[in-house]
Chain length 326, copies 2
């Protein structure tokens, strides 16, 4: 048995944040709603004296012939020694025999892509078809991927960005204008981003809400993808109250790690809808031009399984291609 | 960053079931008793329609600069298509930065070795110094490793073996006589093994006790390493009652997955001792020639971390060696 080990460079060469990838990730949400999925609770190993943690996620979709196990780490002293704080790898296993099929030493690339693709899936079902202005809060790598992902599903003509660091925000503007060919305006406050955009994506590790419900105007869509832990939060409760449709990847995770955590108003939880119910057609997405919609993404193991399978297909295909040419 | 991927053949070439390995595994038990160890509950992903499961274990020993994450699988339809039912791999990660250091695609070899080494550690502290007769119940690969491990710590001159399959038992005899150079006698009943041996090792997936307390004579040591799940059991309660010293790798796991599970007599649990308390010198092991001692091994993530680190050392050393010779 030979296991392929692919490093980040090799994976980067074959995978793109394009509509095909977005469609693949959409099947992950549909599977969550329509198939039996085994997704055990996240395993976490803490190394407090190094300010680090490793999380392990996995998800098996019944009937699918392989599944992923993902290790992702955050070591927050790393930047001091010139290393990124995030790292990770995925392992793809055969669901019928347990044999490892491939290892992706991707340093978190596939996680970044599946998270961005989820933003595109949310925008594709929840934002107005004619959304032309994107607003991004946050300036990290996921902020960049999210903006790129929106361009794949909506006719975005310009963007607003807000970040706490002026330097990073300026760099975001310069880089994104160059890469995507649209003007990017730097906003001085989150409020300016929210009030001026058709689609808002929040991508911060904030522990205090940065989006105020009063800023939401009819027709806007907000994707909050920053909160994925018990101490994080990006939207205030009024934002959730103001929405006509509140969607999340999984209600259980949103209650524990996301925007449904610690709400005063219990009814808000009961009216929440899962994204897979919409992608599968069981429930409607946006149904009018002036609805306010919100999607809270905490990240699921099913997305990992789907993107690992997709990456393996692309890499295997590429190898066949190379063999043929030889 | 380059991650080394080692396959089973490469690992097999450098690692031996010798006293050095046994000493390394002993440090794992000592760490469990003397250091802060983070060992999260096992993550399990079931694939019931394929009669398969994948377990994920990990353990971080405070102050140790790397730790392992282990995937181990059991797919019980595999033998029908000519594949082994067990499979697995280990990943060694840097505890200060989270970076993956090495991947061992070992098909369970390191697990087999660390389990066998634990048997040797138990026998080294609990069996009589002059134990000359080994008794093995079970004929699988772990039965073979356990017998080999005993020879590393005690002056074993002959062995008894019992297995349900006559054919496999005969093969065990032939193979072990050839490999180890000692006579191996096939017993017709487990009782014959237990009554005739100084050290007994049970290595079965039995769900009903196969060792009866009445068979235990003064001075005997029994290691039960088969039970590692809620439905398994190898010793009857009278065996535990008959023992002067009952030891296990972790009391918590033994109560949940091992021989301390479902006992009528609660007091037995309270007098159990952990192996690490003995290897660290905090508590005595065998203290007289006629004590009856038992050790229940369920397997711990700390053993995985220790053997993965040891294998990496050996493999790295070997690579340096190759470079020097070039």
């Amino acid at each position: 048995m030979i296991i392929q080990l692919y490093n980040r460079d090799e994976i980067e060469r074959v995978i793109r944040l394009d509509t095909r990838l977005i469609q693949e990730v959409e099947t992950a949400f549909t599977a969550l709603s329509t198939k039996r999925v085994t997704m055990p609770p996240i395993m976490r190993i803490d190394m407090p004296e190094h300010n680090g943690e490793v999380d392990i996620k996995s998800a098996y979709i019944e009937g699918v012939d392989s599944f992923a196990v993902k290790l992702s780490s955050g070591f927050f002293n790393n930047p001091k020694i010139g290393l990124p704080s995030a790292n990770g790898m995925m392992i793809l296993l055969n669901s019928k025999t347990g044999e490892p099929q491939a290892i992706f030493a991707d340093n978190g690339l596939l996680t970044d892509l599946r998270t961005a693709a989820a933003g595109a899936v949310a925008a594709g079902h929840l934002s107005r078809q004619n959304s032309r202005v994107a607003g991004i809060i946050g300036t990290g790598s996921q902020a960049r991927y999210q903006l790129q992902a929106l361009l794949a599903v909506r006719p975005i003509e310009k963007a607003f960005v807000y970040g706490r660091s002026k330097e990073k925000t300026e760099r975001f503007k310069t880089d994104m204008e160059g890469e995507l060919g649209i003007p990017v305006h730097v906003a001085l406050e989150p409020e300016d981003v929210v009030r001026n955009s058709d689609i808002v994506v929040t991508t911060t590790p904030s522990t205090e809400p940065i989006v105020n419900g009063d800023w939401l105007s009819p027709g806007v869509h907000v994707t909050a993808m920053g909160s994925d832990a018990e101490h994080k939060k990006e939207l205030d409760e009024r934002a959730i109250e103001a929405s006509d449709l509140f969607v999340c990847d999984t209600i259980e995770q949103s209650k524990r790690l996301g925007e449904l955590r610690n709400l005063q108003n219990d009814k808000l939880v009961h009216s929440a809808v899962e994204l897979g119910d919409i992608t599968s057609g069981h429930k409607p997405g946006r149904s009018s031009e002036d609805q306010i919609t919100i999607c809270d993404l905490t990240g699921t193991g099913v997305q990992d399984t789907v993107i690992a399978r997709y990456a393996f297909q692309l890499l295997e295909y590429k190898e066949e291609d190379i063999h043929e040419r030889r």
